[in-house]
Amino acid sequence: MLDSSVHLDFVYLDHGATTPMLPEAIEAMTAQMASVGNASSLHTSGRLGRRVVEESRETIAQAMGAQPSEVLFTSGGTESDNLAIKGTFWARQDADPRRVRILVSVVEHHAVIDCVGFLEAHEGAKVTWLEVDEVGRVHPETVRAAIETDPDTVALVSVMWANNEVGTVQPVAEIAAVCREFGIPVHSDAVQAVGQVDVDFAGRGLDLLSISGHKIGGPQGVGALLARRDAALVPLTHGGGQERQVRSGSLDVPAIRGFAVAMRHATANRAVGAERLVALRDKLIRGAKDAGFGVQVTGDWEPGDGMRRLPGNAHLLVPGCDGDSLLYLLDAAGVQCSTGSACQAGVPQPSHVLLAMGMSEHKARGALRLTLGHTSTAADVDVFLAALPSAVERAQRAQVAMRPEQTDPKQMSQKQTR
């Protein structure tokens, strides 16, 4: 699966942020870029562009267990989440103003959490946060209990398919079944899940599903919201109404074509790829735990399992280290990874996911997220494991050096520096 034309002089272990584009997707997309044609134009070039869009829509629908008319192209996962959350909230409110509650898990991506925060601050929404267990999982009974306090006031429920930080896969089918009992629409952000676990839109009984192009080997800047035909959505962008009168803006035909090619590839090869990633992930986690620094793995890890945790996700806690020190040291050693949490001006904030799982802020500071993907190899894991010991030793010294009582300038020059 590794394209022999790609020679990287670094080890890329941040596929959860974005994964290299598949050569097939690059080829399809660049070929399309040479063609003129607005998919909404009525002449020949327009019809050719439209054909590419509709073929892509069909490809994506088929891969995701949806009908083509249920695929709404967007600019990516964040826009899809915004449209799902805000669009549904407003539509449900229009139908019945009592529906002010949004039930949402505490481990959602900021694209969901901040939407909900916006609706709370400006639109009178009341948020019920769905708690998780120590591996970051939402239990269907938690959703049921939250709905049952007052079912008529619930506008929607949103629980992600798989967590972007710790990789925990949520019981979305069971949660959707609970919502269906009460006739409440349910959304899931599957941006991290597609291509790694079996994502089936209709089969799991969802109303809305967010997906993204660049996490599966497609281009950045394109995604889709899968929305049932009966899902009522108030548009966020107004204009030409290109996508089902809900999402306006000329469609990005080349990106959509690249997205569809990547989707076909990622889902067709998913089972084999997932098995390969599970083996690499387990090798990485075992190696890190055996390195002797007391490294812990967060979330739901069982060797060989690719259903309860994303196959490509390894999320580690390194005691006595700050994630930003580890990130720098590993980057300098040619290993690119992430601390996993959202950034503000490039500074990792304490992860709301880890805090929600009951972890202390201090412990959460040593988080390191390594995410494997289609170009990852056993050699990549070996390079990481070889770089880890000296990185941990230095990062631990740096955290000691940063303690206020240690930084009396009179002491400084006497410190061991190497």
């Binding site: 930003d324 020190s325 990130l327 720098y328 040291l329 980057d331 300098a332 503000q344 001006a345 490039g346 500074v347 990792p348 230095r394 990062a395 010294r397 740096a398 000691v400 050096a401 940063m402 206020p404 240690q406 930084t407 300038p409 009179k410 400084m412 020059s413 006497q414 410190k415 520096t417 190497r418």
Partner: protein
């Protein structure tokens, strides 16, 4: 050497980083995140550390081809600089947060972290020079551009810190640095200089302090103890301050009056006419020496403000205590400010001002000295004139 270039996003640290690269060092750019909730955009020439500034620093690092990271020092900055700043004002003193930041953050937390991670030194865009003496010691000196000289705020660095610091801009005048930035294609070349205190973006220190310490109405009195006005919190006043007193009645003779003392214990602000502001005897504590501590009485130049004038003086040090006798009186010396001592262009060290008083006649053994504390002046020794003003 492997060097961390501290990059604020401004023009000075940008050129400093570029110069370190050209000098052959292996440089990594680091922007310090000092605010727990940074603003998105810079509002004015004041302040720094916005997300826009971090982005400017990142862009410059890209252009000079060095790796770039943001390191979160917000918690340390809050406890060591911002909270210290508030506590000092609450105690009636006037701190200099830039010295404090250099002592506790840039050349302590940042330097220590850099050393632990395998770096050898830190470079900043401060205007100051490090000169190697005949004996090989690294001395801190003023910048050649006296208008921009920042050696004052570096007067807290010890020999160990100086051995691991670089100030690549000290030999160049600021206008040339801007030209150099423009020639290098940095779009921050024309970015305004930052002024004042970075964590008070609108520059209104009194309002900022009032927001945090609350209103504490009290009396403004003259040196005789007569109440001449009211204030909203003694902490917001600084010795030498004239504006913002809003005194109802003018002084006899109509001369302007100034704050001569802040008494946090009684929440009282003492005012007097200008002649009582002049001081020439300073005691300091928290002494820091940029090399060996001076032995015995030494002739120095003393500077009490970042861009204040240097006054000829004698000084002697006793552990962390310093006594400084100025050869002429200067005004507006507040406890909490730093006095930085110079030998020519070399920075000898610094101390935090504890007391500032006036001696009637420095050569005589006169029994009285004019102290700005009014009535309290009668009860103290004459041979050691300095009087503790507000401790």
């Amino acid at each position: 050497m492997r060097v961390v270039a501290a990059m604020s996003g401004g023009v000075d640290s940008a050129v400093a980083a570029a110069r370190m690269v050209e000098a052959g060092h292996e440089v990594v750019g680091v922007h310090l995140a000092l605010s727990q909730n940074a603003a998105t955009l810079r509002e004015s020439a004041r302040g720094c550390c916005t997300i826009e500034d971090a982005g400017d620093a990142r862009r410059v690092a890209d252009m000079i081809g060095i790796p770039f990271y943001v390191w979160d020092m917000a918690a340390r900055f809050t406890s060591d600089v911002v909270e210290d700043f508030i506590a000092e004002y609450a105690a009636g003193r006037t701190p200099n947060p830039c010295l404090r930041c250099n002592e506790k953050i840039k050349f302590a937390a940042l330097l220590d972290k850099a050393l632990a991670l395998g770096f050898d030194a830190v470079a900043t865009g401060h205007y100051a020079q490090i000169v190697e003496s005949a004996s090989g010691a690294r001395e801190l000196h003023r910048a050649v551009d006296m208008a921009k000289d920042q050696s004052y705020v570096l007067g807290v660095l010890n020999a160990g810190q100086l051995a691991r610091s670089f100030f690549p801009l000290g030999d160049t005048a600021k206008p040339q640095i801007r030209q150099e930035a423009a020639a290098r294609g940095f779009y921050v070349a024309a970015k305004p200089d930052s002024h004042d205190i970075c964590f008070i973006p609108d520059g209104d220190t009194r309002k900022w302090l009032t927001d945090r310490l609350g209103g504490q109405p009290g009396d403004i009195v003259d040196v005789d103890g007569t109440t001449v006005g009211q204030h909203g919190g003694a902490y917001a006043f600084t010795v030498g301050q004239r504006r913002g007193l809003h005194l109802g009645q003018p002084a006899a003779g109509g001369e302007p009056r100034y704050v001569v003392e802040v008494q946090p214990g009684t929440n009282t602000v003492v005012v007097a006419t200008g002649e009582l502001l002049g001081v020439d005897a300073i005691t300091g504590d928290h002494a820091r020496w940029c090399g060996a501590a001076p032995q015995g009485v030494v002739s120095v130049g003393a500077q009490v403000r970042a861009h204040g004038e240097e006054v000829p003086a004698t000084a002697w040090a006793d552990g962390e205590q310093v006594e400084v006798r100025l050869q002429r009186r200067i005004r507006g010396v507040a406890p909490g400010q730093s006095v930085v001592l110079y030998d020519g262009t070399r920075v000898v060290g610094s101390a935090t001002i504890a007391t500032a008083t006036a001696c009637m006649a420095t050569t005589s053994t006169a029994t009285a000295s004019t102290a700005v504390t009014g009535g309290a002046a009668t009860s103290r020794s004459s041979t050691r004139p300095p009087v503790r003003l507000s401790r």
